[in-house]
Subunit: 429 residues, 2 copies
Amino acid sequence: MKPIDMAKEGAEVSEETEHMIEKNGGKEPESVMPGGDAKEMRAVVLTGFGGLNKLRVTKKAMPEPQEGEVKIRVKACGLNFLDLMVRQGNIDNPPKTPLIPGFECSGIVEAMGGNTKGFEIGDRVMAFVNYNAWAEVVCTPLEFVYKIPDEMTFPEAAAFPMNFVAAYMMLFEVANLHEGMSVLVHSAGGGVGQAVAQLCSTIPNVTVFGTASPFKHEAIKDSVTHLFDRNADYVQEVKKISPDGVDIVLDCLCGENTGKGLGLLKPLGTYILYGSSNMVTGETKSFFSFAKSWWQVEKVNPIKLYEENKVIAGFSLLNLLFKQGRSGLVKTVVQKLFSLYEQKKVKPVVDSLWAVEEVKEAMQRIHDRGNIGKLILDVEKSPIPLVGKLISLKAEIGKTRIAKRENVGGAKIYIYIFLMNHLITNVIT
Amino acid sequence: MKPIDMAKEGAEVSEETEHMIEKNGGKEPESVMPGGDAKEMRAVVLTGFGGLNKLRVTKKAMPEPQEGEVKIRVKACGLNFLDLMVRQGNIDNPPKTPLIPGFECSGIVEAMGGNTKGFEIGDRVMAFVNYNAWAEVVCTPLEFVYKIPDEMTFPEAAAFPMNFVAAYMMLFEVANLHEGMSVLVHSAGGGVGQAVAQLCSTIPNVTVFGTASPFKHEAIKDSVTHLFDRNADYVQEVKKISPDGVDIVLDCLCGENTGKGLGLLKPLGTYILYGSSNMVTGETKSFFSFAKSWWQVEKVNPIKLYEENKVIAGFSLLNLLFKQGRSGLVKTVVQKLFSLYEQKKVKPVVDSLWAVEEVKEAMQRIHDRGNIGKLILDVEKSPIPLVGKLISLKAEIGKTRIAKRENVGGAKIYIYIFLMNHLITNVIT
């Protein structure tokens, strides 16, 4: 992470909150005991689109399961880059605020509506949710709920749905990964990147090219065949090793990377766009960023694909589930992945666990691409006091600085900005 | 075929030949006996890009195999829509004329260059050739030559490479056809269309939607689940039967059909462009038709693919073989296809056999989309005298007229145009 970027982003935090909510929420939440007949629950609420200051932890009415729904006492929630884009309103057709963010969680079945055969109270489950995951309790249709293997922990189960299902479907349903192929994945240290690397290792002789920030290389070097600095010219780096290019490119960046990715494909190769994290620059939405990316992304001429024998695909797991009704297909994929988990061929990499009240710091970490694997909101965890945070932060900055050989001045600026951020977002507002 | 189009196209035949060649060729060719040490062979020569009048049958120097090449005494050649586009110069980077057209043939190995292990004189083979197939003898690198099953006839073997390999690779390598899927194919009565229909029938419960001229429907109705008039609004017709759309669209038309095809895809569906026959309107190249199609074809926004979970691909078998060096992959596909042939699961549909001297009529037939299955040049066949042609033509027009319920006047115009065409292209020039 660059201290200089942090300074710029820190400045944006002072932006005013547009939608104000319950002022009693967020600071010292009262815990709601599981299993009771409580009328309220704690949840992360996004009060409007924007910076970190749009997030609150507050009490919301307890949801009750409708026909075909399962009520889950949430233990852990997954945090994705997409949640950051949602916070900024940096998505197509954003929903109305206030809303509870979050698309995946794990927990225990606490109640069911009618027609929920196959589930019982007490079942350990993971689930996709169309928003609302970052809460103590969530209700979701049973088609999006899966009983988890006994040996799978709740943080692992919360790290599983979005990343492993997407990685599996892209590699095996959209592309056709098989022995001897090569794959390029950006953000190799992230949740999807690590899932891709693990799934590739289940097929003989697959070469994985990955890009990641240099400070992550030591930690992930065993999962990826060839690692490049995310700021390097990865096209040239790949071509040095494989002049013919690669069979599969998985791109979560978008923009100019589409043309680069297509250019790197071997004949019959497949480029898959599954995100557009390049749209996110600062902490708040950049001006016109969604519209800009729509127009700036290079359009593809089908005749060029014909001449070059290439395939371009887009993959959005959430649209597939919640707009396009493909939960049946996803269920079969989840079963295959559980089987791989039980054979110890895949295992979610959890970067860190965060208390619900620490959601802002967790989001900042994913924004700065500081994570290796998945960030998890642990619903039962208490926030670390500020002093503890500073100690662990200082240690991390030390590591980062050594890894990146950055100057001490930069690190100092970072600590200053972090403190200001913390004061502004957690204390003053 | 529409009589009115024929009239327009007939008019274009009078266009002057730009490149003149041996005037002794074409009318009464002397047969060259196989196996001898003849210095010459007969071949179809394209003297320049344009109409049917650019085609001659003439003598060319006997080719001799270079290192790694196999010399084949040709028995039969396949005729493809692409040959028509080549004749018009309606392709990207057209080669120089004069040239011998043709990309596929079958025959008997007559000699080999060095390093051609695995082949012997007398082997029955089929081959891809990078032009030059429409001749009595052809030499091609052994990587493009395949020994054929004993029970496969030479016309079948000449009908096999371009259509079945393309159909197989599109369905199983680019898309991922499996049980229960649906496929839309244009020109269902053509060579590729019939190969696609047969290959789909090897997978349980695959629904094939096809477009074809109405007069073909009776002949091909058993090979396709749902048949539509090629001039009908196939998007609406498909949606009536399958409101969700289809899993795979195979498009050889291009232009506005790309947008229509993408629109018809189910989530995770694949649209494959494998030709652009819409570029061909008249008998000669239309003004700027290649450039026009390049610019007019709808460009595809990757973000739209992302939102809709769709895949778009291009497939050019010739580029794959001759520009992109994928003959090894094609060889494995050919072996799988031979296995299906031996199990009697696929069998090339041969529309008609034509003498080499009848290449113009054969080309006109493919232009008019009159064929059901593959047109074959039978190198050992003698041309049918004009009277015989007229008799068979009249019979066919009768059938067509009944099938299409066209008026007798139209059929009369057609006979008139055919006669004029024949006189101009075979007698006068």
